[in-house]
Symmetry: C2
Subunit: 516 residues, 2 copies
């Protein structure tokens, strides 16, 4: 048996069941091993940024790692931006990178590169297989490391000769995975008394605390205290909808975020750290802890945040269930209005089913959709955790694989969609229920705002041109169809609404261009 086959069987035994891949010559024995082990669902991606983003989306929705199989340093390099998002999302990923055979490496052939160097900025663990006999034990270690205590990307570098080596089968069965540490009862009691002593405590949530169980418990605490609850602006996964407690999303711009938390005297943090602004601006501070507020860390992302919140709620004698807002009802649709992100939100509110998943890679437009779905159908809203645009369509590939019974939406700015539009091809190949909405404002719109905010002066024609995507205008219907995804352009609220209803009824992947 090739060592590569022991590796694949060992991954399967640890519960790793999906491989997003773009292989090359040095990974051919891994390809053969995947071929012989069809229980591992292998998903071909046309570009590595699709594979890494899909692994992120899969982990966000399943809670467990997929593996990626990438070709040497440059293949890995193409996946790094979405691994950056996965790192910031704190999700488990097992990133397998093929390398040249060990004897070949020293010869510095054209594709030789510093793979450890490429891995380092995004990986919480890096292992290089030095002997074929180590393949399976290192695979187990990679899966364990991906789980944490704070989950992340575990990178396993696999020289071709360690994959092709013929050996006795060496398959390691299910191993123990690390668990998050529990916050002590004493610490819970301390936090509870700090909260009771505060006038205006505010809960600030990230990681697991914004997801179903966490947000439920945070809602119990909020109902007990009558306090404000904020989620990170770009949380990994926000569980939202009318059957969930409705926490607020902290505003993107720093001055608005400080206004959100005005008068707060105690910032209680669960699954995050003290908030900071996304970018720096001349003469403006970047720290967003409200002035005068004390910071109280209940649990960081390496801890069992959900348990900590639950213990805290019990100690505060919070009600068993949070107070919920009534289900939002959709206002009538003014069909002839020119389309804007709000109308997209309204259509989603009108037609979306409970349990849907929304991947948000639409910087400005996503902010316009978001409020409409508060207290609407239950859904999971996945944010651009690391700010590396080009995440939406790949993330949807992984999310749809993790929950094939659910409707997945990818909301993409046209600037972001242009980064990794190759994901559409994988959506078509895998016949995934993904509706991609491309907001075509033909501009890096957020940068128009930022250019003014940083005080770089009035933009002249060259600066404007560098933020402008209208010369030429990208024909997204052509691109979507070109990659095999039925695509349509919409310009009014009614056209979008009809297109959405049609796409949901037909199933499979669709692309709707929202001309805004």
């Amino acid at each position: 048996m090739f060592a590569a086959e022991s590796l694949v069987k060992t991954l399967l035994a640890q519960g790793v069941e999906v491989c997003f891949t773009n292989p090359g010559t040095s990974e051919m024995h891994m390809v053969a091993a995947l071929d012989r082990n069809p229980e591992m669902h292998s998903v071909l991606c046309l570009f590595e940024g699709v594979a890494s983003g899909a692994a992120d989306g899969y982990a966000r929705m399943s809670g467990k790692p997929a593996c990626t199989l990438l070709h040497l340093g440059p293949g890995l390099a193409n996946g790094l931006a979405n691994f950056h998002n996965a790192k910031r999302a704190k999700v488990p990923v097992v990133n397998i990178v093929g390398d040249h055979a060990r004897d070949h490496l020293q010869l510095d052939a054209p594709l030789t590169s510093d793979i450890v160097g490429y891995c380092s900025p995004v990986s919480r663990w890096i292992g290089t297989v030095c002997e074929p006999s180590d393949v399976s034990s290192m695979a187990v270690e990679a899966v364990q490391q991906s789980y944490g205590p704070e989950p992340g990307v575990a990178s396993l570098i696999l020289p071709a000769d360690c994959a092709w080596s013929d050996q006795e089968p060496d398959v390691i069965k299910g191993a123990d995975m690390p668990k998050r540490a529990v916050v002590s009862a004493a610490r819970i009691a301390e936090v509870a008394s700090q909260i009771k002593a505060a006038k205006n405590p505010v809960l600030y949530l990230g990681d697991l605390a914004t997801q179903e169980a966490g947000i439920f418990t945070a809602g119990r605490i909020a109902s007990a205290l009558g306090c404000r609850v904020f989620m990170e602006t770009f949380a990994t996964r926000m569980s939202r909808g009318s059957s969930r407690f409705s926490a607020q999303r902290l505003s993107y711009f720093g001055e608005s975020a400080l206004e959100d938390m005005k008068d707060c005297d105690l910032l209680v943090i669960a699954g995050s750290k003290a908030p900071v602004s996304f970018f720096a601006y001349p003469g403006v501070g970047s720290e967003l802890t409200p002035p005068g507020a004390e910071v109280c860390m209940l649990a960081d992302a390496a801890m069992d945040t959900v348990q900590a919140l639950s213990d805290l709620a019990d100690m505060l004698q919070a009600p068993a269930n949070p107070e919920l807002a009534p289900r939002a009802s959709a206002p009538d649709l003014d069909r002839d209005q020119p389309l804007n992100p709000g109308f997209v939100g309204l259509s989603l509110l009108r037609h979306m089913q409970d349990g849907s998943v929304i991947c948000d890679d639409a910087t400005t437009s996503g902010m316009g959709v978001y409020p409409w779905l508060e207290n609407g159908p239950d859904h999971e809203w996945l944010c651009l955790t690391g700010g590396a645009i080009g995440m939406g369509m790949p993330l949807a590939v992984g999310a749809a694989l993790a929950c094939s019974d659910k409707q997945v939406f990818a909301l993409c700015g046209d600037g972001a969609a242009a980064y990794t539009c190759q994901a559409l091809w994988t959506q078509a190949r895998e016949k995934q229920n993904i509706i991609n909405v491309v907001f075509a404002n033909h501009s890096y719109l957020i940068l128009n705002f930022e250019l003014a905010r940083v005080g770089a002066g009035d933009p002249g024609p060259a600066a404007q041109s560098m933020l402008d995507l209208s010369n030429p205008k990208i024909d997204w219907v052509a691109l979507g169809n070109g990659f095999g995804v039925p695509s349509v352009s919409t310009k009014t609220a009614g056209e979008f609404d009809d297109a959405l209803v049609h796409a949901m009824a037909t199933g499979g992947p669709h692309l709707i261009v929202a001309e805004i």
Copy 2:
């Protein structure tokens, strides 16, 4: 004056005149500086891999660096694969990466990352601006470092606050650039006597030695000795055509390469190092120096290879001009034949003008085009130096900018074209004379060969599926048109020939799908 403006003016004073960019918030003062200095031609790219590939193409054709302006670690990460190709091409590039303001960096905002870590695998020099007053001197150092002695990528990390700082103008005028070292007369004499003593010397050329002046002189030596001359399989730039000495390209597969150089007893290397196979295969050696041959290093890529070859030719009393083959004449075109790469080569031979530039990112198909143009119209053939596919269309963007009076061709496999098809948009925006040929075999064809060669067994359905791009077939006409480039599909030799003639006559960018 913003420090960023001093930086741009300083770059201009060093002869850096083109900036390939995809900026974000942290680069807005650089955008403003570019706006105020329109002598710097700023070219917007929809994806950073287009910017890095374009900088490579520009340098290969102009011999001098362009700069790139990329957004933080993830933006840089997206450019790394084509920087890997540029590193292997040994061309100068000044890679400017914006970073967060210095105070902001420690707060670990979502886009914070280890930019030095990302830069390291591809850069020959990395500098981080620590004070605004250092901006201009570090820009000069970056340009100098990009030139070498062995040229490469010089990365300059620019914190946003060092760009936005208001200061006295600090523009440094033209500085001295490093020159390549000259090979001593004594060493030339040694090499000459080694060559004279050898029975079957072979010249092996890379870097500048495969370009106009180098290949001319190598041809003089070959004419004097009657010896074989080989170029690296993936040389940076091969100057070819009937007015150039015709050197052979070393075969891709190792066994063929050894056959090429059979009976060689002295391998004389200029601008390269001893040849090795691209990949390793079980039980096969990777070193391609012919058995029993001595290796004689005339000049590596850090030396003045052209001068060394010229001195050697003189010492060998070589004729003043190389022997040239007669101009190749094109056979008649059998218009109704199903298209294959050879017919693309034939059409190029029939219609291409002297001085054209060909960017080859078509792994298997490029090999079919290549032989047709030997002794055809003069042209520059740019290879996939680092093996990171997705180079062709971006490289063409840069090459066309460096020589706007020339016709540029990008030969792309469909697998490779899918990586960085966003380059088409920049071609349309800049109205470049680029004819993109996409060879649509709907497969990673080379991997079908490699799977067999590495002995991974008969491919089953899952393995075949991972090398197959036909489900769904990409509609390249739709993609090209979607990005604003007139596109057409061709299936016969005659259809391709007509499409080529039409594209050359109309000018601007075109995409021709070669269905093979």
